[in-house]
Symmetry: C2
Subunit: 364 residues, 2 copies
């Protein structure tokens, strides 16, 4: 906790608009078209605003994942997505090997448009890449009075219950729904117990990792960070068979069915990174609440649900009971005003990136 606080204090507060502008300029320099660059930058900075730091600029995902992907030829910067097949309520989209961040926004927009006309829209995407924070896309549906769903599969790194080798990726799923005065409900979860990035962070802080998040080479749970980082074998949400690991594992495969099988991309275990250059499948959905009941009534009942949960007395060590989306909303409110906290070493990395890309550094 003291370590964490020390890190918090060190951080530099950065203007989100400047960060967004910088990210889009870097991407445009790599021949990403203006619209796609703006979309991608917005997805990235949104992750920082909402506190999903593993997926934002504060983790330098721009340099580490997206710039690198374009530079090594695995990501097509000038991709134009193509609708391969569609019905009034569904579409199958080929991402043309593009930047998942932009492909995701375009695909989710198709889902929302279909829902506007036909109440529900679902879009499966093949041939795309890492799309950032899943909640960006599900939250896109909320201002339209819709429930939004977004999901992606990825290279296998999570063990199935009873297995020694990974069966699926951290395969996140996000669902958002409109409230009235309360924050929007926003679920955004990986289907492993912990994401690999967080495991690396825990190891860096010199702490043992909790029993039930990672396994050794034999598939047995380990608390040794060195073993866990070497084996790269995460455990499913639910950790062990007696705590329900088959549930997290089953959810991970559900993500594969939606993102990999409906799209034709293939499940995590079918993704051959040599062939696909790490391309992945996504799934997006938008459902109009008023296809079921009046939106205002739904929102009022959502508010009441949030308020009842907030009134639950907190357990020892907790100040307050939160609902999915509360924390992200608080982060967004605060960081929009105060700025996004970024570690000095990441600021340095981003400055270097600015130099390398010959893009003006206007962030700090």
């Amino acid at each position: 906790m003291t370590n964490q606080k020390a890190i918090q204090k060190e951080r530099i507060l950065v203007d989100p608009d400047k960060l967004r502008e910088f990210a889009s300029q870097v991407l445009r320099k790599l021949e990403v078209p203006r619209q796609d660059a703006l979309m991608a930058a917005d997805v990235l900075v949104y992750a920082d605003l909402r506190g999903v730091e593993t997926h934002g600029m504060s983790n330098n995902n721009l340099g580490r994942i997206y710039v690198k992907g374009i530079q090594n030829g695995s990501v097509n910067p000038k991709a134009e997505i193509k609708v391969i097949h569609e019905t009034p309520v569904t579409a199958l989209v080929d991402g043309n090997g593009g930047l998942g961040l932009a492909v995701g926004v375009r695909a989710m927009n198709i889902a929302i448009e279909k829902a506007q006309h036909s109440f529900i829209g679902m879009v499966a995407v093949r041939n795309s890449h890492h799309f950032g924070a899943a909640q960006y896309f599900s939250m896109m549906a909320v201002p339209y009075g819709m429930i939004g769903v977004s999901s992606t599969n990825s290279n296998p790194i999570v063990l199935p219950t009873g297995g020694k080798e990974p069966a699926y990726g951290t395969n996140p799923i996000s669902v958002s729904a409109p409230s009235g005065n309360e924050p929007a409900y926003c679920l955004d979860i990986g289907t492993s117990a912990m994401v690999f990035q967080k495991l690396i962070l825990t190891a860096r802080l010199g702490k043992p990792i909790p029993f039930g998040v990672a396994a050794d080479n034999e598939g047995q749970p380990t608390t040794d960070p060195a073993v866990a980082i070497q084996s790269r074998k995460l455990l499913p949400l639910g950790s062990t068979p007696e705590l329900g690991s088959h549930k997290g594992y089953g959810l991970g495969i559900l993500v594969d069915v939606l993102c990999g099988l409906l799209s034709g991309q293939g499940a995590s275990i079918q993704i051959d990174s040599e062939v696909s250059f790490g391309s992945t499948g996504h799934f997006f959905a938008a459902m109009r609440v008023d296809a079921f009941r009046p939106l205002a009534e739904f929102q009022e009942q959502m508010d009441d649900m949030f308020q009842r949960i907030h009134r639950i007395p907190p357990a020892k060590g907790f100040d307050r009971v939160l609902v999915a989306g509360d924390l992200e909303h608080m982060n967004e409110q605060r960081r929009s005003k105060e700025g996004i906290p970024i570690l000095p070493e990441v600021i340095e990395e981003l400055r270097e990136l600015a130099k390398e890309m010959e893009v003006p550094w206007g962030v700090t």
Copy 2:
């Protein structure tokens, strides 16, 4: 393990057809119309066939839940469901206080019919009751080449992360999808780490319960079965904050959004059992695979995914890696031929029920 095996040996194998006939006769005696009684009996016996014993005849849910519900006036045996609002792809259904088992079949049929005409069908249900094993309904979609979804909320019994009092019910969710030669993918999970029934069974066997499935009155995890049974406070899937309990908790609230909020029934925490007599909301969906891509290609890729996962080397203590639906399929195959294993004391309870209801006992 020896205790468990002893129990296995004692069990009596029962013909599923006879069990189904018996269940439907009991329900008809309570003025449940013939079609509804047949539907309900089929849902019940399917749970036994698939090995979901907490939800079938082998747990005497017929007597303990459904007969009791009708007899105490909380369940309306002659309920006629009513479509309150609909679009080509959605419906809001009032269950008229009926038997969830039959309401569920009727509502899922509406979802499937809508999907046949419009590719997707979604149905939210209010004013219904305990619907049995969720997978019955999601699996109904599979023979039509559709992905099926089913879910229900229930009275709050699961703690939110950081809270002392329950925020939601065990709120299960089931998703099924067609394969080719392999069993259908079938996820059917509660969003708590363990269901209360299994906790009671563990306690009965005199074993301590695992750390991370139940809490004491202060919301702290307990391994003492007596404490857990008294407090009736389950922990979410993910068990503790460091293992991702907010993920299971968030999924539980997702079920409430779909089943409680879209339907207008109210979330688990809004269900006042004094007013509603324990009525609950459900959510059903059916999505045609061929709205995205040809069904045969999807099925072939599903088979390949299953086979790749089956080839993963098992960890110590496991014979084989299974996919969600494998175990249920094996149970169904075996039990359809050999019969459903039922404990002698449950057979006695069912015989008593036969006498009480003045229905012929033709099962053993």
